[in-house]
C-alpha cells in the first residue's frame, strides 16, 4: 500500500470493486472524494506527481521538426526507389485482398474506411476570424475566472463535444515549450514570438508567446474495432478518431474565441506538438513500451490532440498509475509486433533508434522504419497490433480488469501475474502471428454502440 493511501481510502477503493458490489454501499456510503484543486477527478490510487516517471533531460531536448518523423520524412531514412517499391507492394496487397474478399479487406471494409476518413471539419491553425463570434460581437467583456474555473469550463465543453479526457500543460520556455514542433508537417516553421496576435504565411506560423496554455485531449478509439488489426477494418477506428477530433478541435477553437481568447491548433494530423509527450506532461497517461500514451481509463485506445490558448488554465500534473512500471515486465506489444519494431529491453534507454525519435528523454524507442516496412509490405494500411495486444486495451466492465488497474498502481509486484492472466483470458492461442485477434466478418453483426466506444467509462472511473 502506498504511503499516501490511508486505510479509509483503501477500504473505499475495495468498496468500488464489483465483487464487493453488494456490500459497497455499506462500506463507502456517505463518503465523498476529498476536495482538491482542479484535477482530472480520478480514483485516488492514481497518484499525481510533480515530474513524469519518464525521465527528461530538458537541456538536451530541442524543438523537433515533425518532418523528420517517418510519417512525413520516410525518405530521410529509406531510398526513394525502395519507398516506391513499398508503395506498389502495399497497393497490390490491397487490390488482391479486395478482389479475393479477404476478411477485413472486402469492399464493405474499404467503403467504411473511406467513409471514416472523409467528412469532418478541416483542420486549421487558426479559425476564420470573420466566422468567429465572441465578446466583441456580443458587446460584453471577455470571460474571466480563476485558472481552476477555466480548466473546469474547458473540460466540460470539450467532453461535451466528444473529447474523452482533457488535461492542461503550461508551456515553460526551458522545458515544456520544447514539445512544440519547430516545423509543422506541411513544412511551415512554427515561431513562438512576443506578439499580440497569431499569424500564418506561406512559410511560417507565429504562436504568440502569451498562448502559454496547451490543452491536451484524448479521443477514444474502439477496442472492438482495433482488435481486428492489422486490416483495413481494424484501422478505420483510427481514421474515424482523427476525423472526430477535427470537429472537436474546430469547436474548441470557436468556444475559446467565444470566451474572448485565442485557440490555436493543429494545421493537419499530428501537427503543432509531440502528442504523447504533452499527454504525459498533462497527466493523461504514461509513456508506454510502444512509445505512445497509455492511459488509465482507456489503455492505449485513444488518439491525442492539442490546442494552444492564452486563457489561463490550471495545469494538470503527470501521473503514476503503475502503467509505465507494468510496461517494464509486460512486453506483450513487443511480442505481438510482427515488424519487430518495439524494444524488448528491460529498461528504457536514453539512446534513440534513429532521427524519427526526439532525444532527451529515457524511453523504449521504437524502430519506426521497421514498423512502416511491415505495414506497407504486409498490411497495406495502419497496423495497430501493439495497441490491440496491450493488456490495458480492455473495456474495464469486468471487475477483474479494474482490480488489475488498482493492483498495477499500488502493488507492481503482481504485474507479471496479471500479464500471465491477460494472456490466458484475452489472447487467442495458437497466436496467428500478424493476424487479426478477432473475426472481421463477425464485426459487421455486432451492433456496436456509437462510434464503437463506451462513453460512460470515464464517468464510471471517476464516480
Amino acid at each position: 500500500m502506498p504511503e499516501n493511501l490511508t486505510r479509509r481510502e483503501f477500504i473505499k477503493d475495495l468498496g468500488k470493486l464489483g465483487a464487493a458490489a453488494a456490500v459497497a454501499p455499506l462500506v463507502a456510503g456517505g463518503e465523498t472524494m476529498d476536495s482538491k484543486p482542479f484535477s482530472l477527478g480520478r480514483p485516488n490510487w492514481i497518484k499525481e506527481i510533480d515530474e513524469p516517471l519518464t525521465e527528461v533531460d530538458w537541456p538536451n531536448v530541442s524543438r523537433y521538426n515533425e518532418r523528420h518523423t517517418t510519417r512525413r520524412g520516410f525518405n530521410l531514412y529509406v531510398e526513394q526507389d525502395r519507398i516506391d517499391q513499398l508503395g506498389e507492394l502495399s497497393n497490390k496487397l490491397l487490390e488482391d485482398n479486395l478482389k479475393n474478399d479477404v476478411p477485413g479487406y472486402t469492399l464493405k471494409d474499404r467503403a467504411l474506411q473511406r467513409a471514416a476518413r472523409g467528412g469532418g471539419a478541416s483542420r486549421t491553425f487558426m479559425i476564420d476570424m470573420e466566422k468567429a463570434q465572441g465578446p466583441d460581437t456580443w458587446g460584453v467583456p471577455k470571460w474571466t475566472g480563476t485558472p481552476e474555473e477555466a480548466s473546469q469550463l474547458v473540460t466540460a465543453a470539450m467532453r461535451h463535444m466528444g473529447a474523452a479526457t482533457v488535461g492542461f500543460v503550461e508551456l515553460e520556455t526551458d522545458t515544456t515549450e520544447k514539445l512544440i514542433y519547430s516545423v509543422d508537417p506541411d513544412g511551415k516553421e512554427l515561431r513562438i514570438e512576443d506578439v499580440e496576435m497569431p499569424e500564418e504565411t506561406e512559410d511560417y506560423r507565429v504562436i504568440p508567446k502569451k498562448a502559454r496554455y496547451c490543452i491536451v485531449y484524448t479521443v477514444q478509439m474502439s477496442e472492438e474495432t482495433l482488435s481486428r488489426a492489422p486490416t483495413v477494418l481494424g484501422s478505420l477506428t483510427t481514421s474515424l478518431t482523427y476525423t472526430r477530433s477535427q470537429n472537436i478541435q474546430e469547436r474548441t477553437q470557436y468556444f475559446l474565441h467565444g470566451l474572448g481568447y485565442l485557440g490555436l491548433a493543429e494545421s493537419s494530423t499530428n501537427a503543432l506538438g509531440i502528442s504523447p509527450a504533452l499527454g504525459v506532461m498533462a497527466g493523461l497517461g504514461e509513456l508506454s513500451r510502444y512509445n505512445r500514451l497509455l492511459t488509465p481509463e482507456y489503455g492505449p485506445m485513444v488518439r491525442v490532440f492539442k490546442v494552444l490558448t492564452d486563457l489561463p488554465l490550471a495545469p494538470t500534473k503527470p501521473i503514476d498509475a503503475g502503467l509505465y512500471k507494468y510496461c517494464h515486465k509486460c512486453k506483450k506489444c513487443a511480442d505481438a509486433c510482427p515488424g519487430k519494431a518495439i524494444s524488448f529491453d528491460d529498461e528504457p534507454s536514453w539512446e534513440t533508434r534513429g532521427g524519427w525519435n526526439n532525444p532527451g528523454h529515457r524511453a523504449w524507442f521504437e524502430d519506426s522504419v521497421l514498423c512502416r516496412f511491415y505495414q506497407r509490405t504486409y498490411t497495406g494500411t495502419n497496423c495497430g497490433l501493439c495497441f490491440s495486444a496491450c493488456p490495458f486495451a480492455t473495456k474495464n466492465l469486468a471487475s477483474f480488469n479494474r482490480v488489475r488497474n488498482y493492483m498495477a498502481a499500488t502493488m507492481p509486484a503482481f504485474d507479471k501475474t496479471f500479464k500471465t492472466m491477460d494472456d490466458l483470458l484475452y489472447t487467442n492461442f495458437p497466436l496467428e502471428f500478424g493476424k487479426s485477434q478477432k473475426d472481421c466478418e463477425e464485426w459487421w453483426t455486432l451492433n456496436l454502440p456509437d462510434y464503437g466506444i463506451d462513453t460512460v467509462q470515464t464517468v464510471r472511473e471517476t464516480s
Partner: protein, 91 residues
Amino acid sequence: MFWLIVGLLLGAAIFWLATSGKVKLTWYEWVLGVLGIILILFAIQNYSASQVELESKAAGLLLLIFGLPGLIFAVLAGVLAFLRGKKAAAA
C-alpha cells in the same frame, strides 16, 4: 438494481444465520462461507460483464477460475456445518 437485490437477499440470509439460532456456525465456517460467496459474486460479475464486452473466452475462464473455488468454499462451509449439526444431534 441486480446487485442491490443480491445485496439485500444476502444481507437477509446472513442476518437470519447470525440471529435465528437454528444454525450455529463456527468461525472457520463463517470465513469459508463468506469467502465462497465473495468469489461466486466476483465470478458472476466478471462473467456477465465479459459477455457484454464480447469476450466470451474470458467470461468462461473467469467464471471457472473464481466461481469454482467459491463454490467449493461455500459448499464446504455448508457441509461442515451440516455434519457438525448431525453429530451434535446424535450425541
